[in-house]
């Protein structure tokens, strides 16, 4: 039941998104714009400093992710479909996980384009240690989306939700972003510092677990009314 509901929510979001591509296109465009803004700020005499690629990647993910999170639930609110979704005789956490997977999937696709782009523009060898890098990216994205999905869902009914989402999201998720940046920077160093990256990955996984536990519990209680 749980898995079935999760997959149904995911399939529903995926079907809407595949037809309109609205969130994907806007998110990706915004992320690329972010990368360009940072490159203008950081490039000196035609060359970017060697160690900024990790930071730019994660900032782009965080900014674009906020946009995607807001839009995902705005769509539900606009169509008044969230009421139907919540009225469905399905476990609430399953709805949450479905929404979460949708956001993670969307961000993963955006990252698949962002990473090579930043890699080329900033001459960053992201795939020197592909396994550790992908694990870092996945753990960081999940941590960010876990908190983001919860808050975006809860903010749906509040006034000024567009302003409040980043205000709530960033203080809590910056530790996740810091771990992601530090871990990625360790991998980009020459020679790559894999033990260091693994340590940051460990912290990320620990944070993901804590955030996920709190999110699953609070989503259940918060979405009752």
């Amino acid at each position: 039941m749980f898995v079935r509901t999760t997959l149904l929510v995911l399939r529903k979001d995926f079907a809407i998104e595949r037809r309109s591509l609205e969130i994907f296109v806007t998110t990706l465009f915004f992320a690329v714009a972010c990368v360009l803004v940072f490159s203008f700020g950081l490039v000196k005499e035609g060359r970017a400093p060697t160690d900024v690629a990790a930071a730019i990647l994660w900032i782009a993910i965080a900014f674009a992710g906020t946009l995607a999170l807001g839009r995902t639930f705005e769509r539900e609110r606009y169509g008044e479909t969230i009421r139907a979704l919540l009225a469905a005789p399905a476990p609430r956490p399953a709805l949450y996980v479905g929404k979460l997977l949708g956001v993670v999937f969307l961000l993963a696709v955006a990252e698949a384009i962002l990473v090579p782009l930043i890699g080329v523009l900033f001459a960053a060898p992201f795939f020197a240690k592909p396994l550790a890098f992908v694990a870092l990216l996945a753990a960081g994205t999940i941590g960010f989306a876990t908190v983001g999905t919860l808050f975006a869902a809860m903010l749906m009914r509040t006034r000024s939700r567009d302003v409040l989402l980043p205000i709530l999201l960033y203080p809590i998720t910056i530790p996740v972003i810091i771990c992601g940046v530090r871990g990625t920077a360790a991998l980009l160093a020459t020679p790559a510092d894999e033990p260091m990256a693994i340590m940051w990955l460990g912290i990320l996984v620990a944070m993901d677990t804590v955030f996920m536990t709190i999110a699953l519990w609070t989503f259940e209680t918060l979405m009752i009314d």
């Binding site: 808050f151 809860m154 409040l164 203080p171």
Partner: protein, 218 residues
């Protein structure tokens, strides 16, 4: 509470006065000299903030679990005091760092995470203020995340090699410094308790007033 307030306020005042005298009497630390004495206010500020955070966190769990209005008043009061004591810690820290490290601020794990923790509770207050109806539960979730992060901030200095002194410093102080520290910490905790009760009492009166207004309109 209203009866106990005056004596408690008096005890707190006496504690603060004693703390100041004891701090003045305490020996100078050998390398940092006079500036080390900021520490007697810096550490108790964070102790006060942690007390406030855990009050807010525990109350928020109750708010989420059964929507208790009483717990909600404690949660708001806790969050406000967390911001207040945190601000004191964030001001005293750089004052000390300027002398001890030569810079006001450095981007290392303890400082950054402590600032973030403080921002989480500022965010809590922003949500309460601008979130409109129903924002108590939303804010409670924010507080829960903040409370979950708080222990990590405390132990972070032991995991990363940072410039910030370790958590082992306070328990291993020599008695000449430990006693002023303990009295100061107690004074801050008493102040926290007093302010908490005042703020909760204020929230109670606001609630009563709101009820009376509603009754008048009916």
């Amino acid at each position: 509470m209203r009866k106990a307030f005056a004596p408690l306020a008096l005890i707190t005042a006496v504690l603060f006065a004693t703390a100041v005298l004891l701090i003045a009497q305490a020996p100078y630390e050998s390398t940092m000299g006079l500036v080390q004495k900021i520490f007697y206010f810096h550490v108790p500020s964070w102790i006060g903030m942690y007390a406030a955070i855990f009050t807010c966190g525990a109350a928020s769990v109750l708010v989420l679990a059964n929507g208790s209005a009483v717990a909600d008043r404690f949660a708001v009061a806790g969050a406000e005091l967390a911001v207040l004591f945190g601000a004191s810690g964030l001001v005293t820290g750089p004052l000390w760092a300027r002398k001890a490290w030569g810079v006001w601020w450095t981007w290392e794990v303890r400082l950054v995470t402590a600032l973030l923790l403080w921002l989480v509770f500022v965010a809590y207050l922003i949500v309460r203020r601008y979130g409109g109806p129903g924002s108590e539960k939303l804010a409670a979730a924010v507080a829960l995340f903040g409370t979950a992060v708080a222990p990590f901030v405390y132990v972070s200095v032991n995991f990363w090699r940072t410039m910030h002194p370790l958590t082992t410093v306070v328990p291993t102080l020599p008695r000449t410094m430990g006693v002023p520290m303990a009295v100061s910490a107690l004074a801050f905790l008493m102040l926290f308790y007093l302010l908490l009760m005042l703020r909760v009492g204020l929230a109670e009166r606001q609630a009563t007033l709101d009820e009376l207004y509603l009754a008048l309109e009916d």
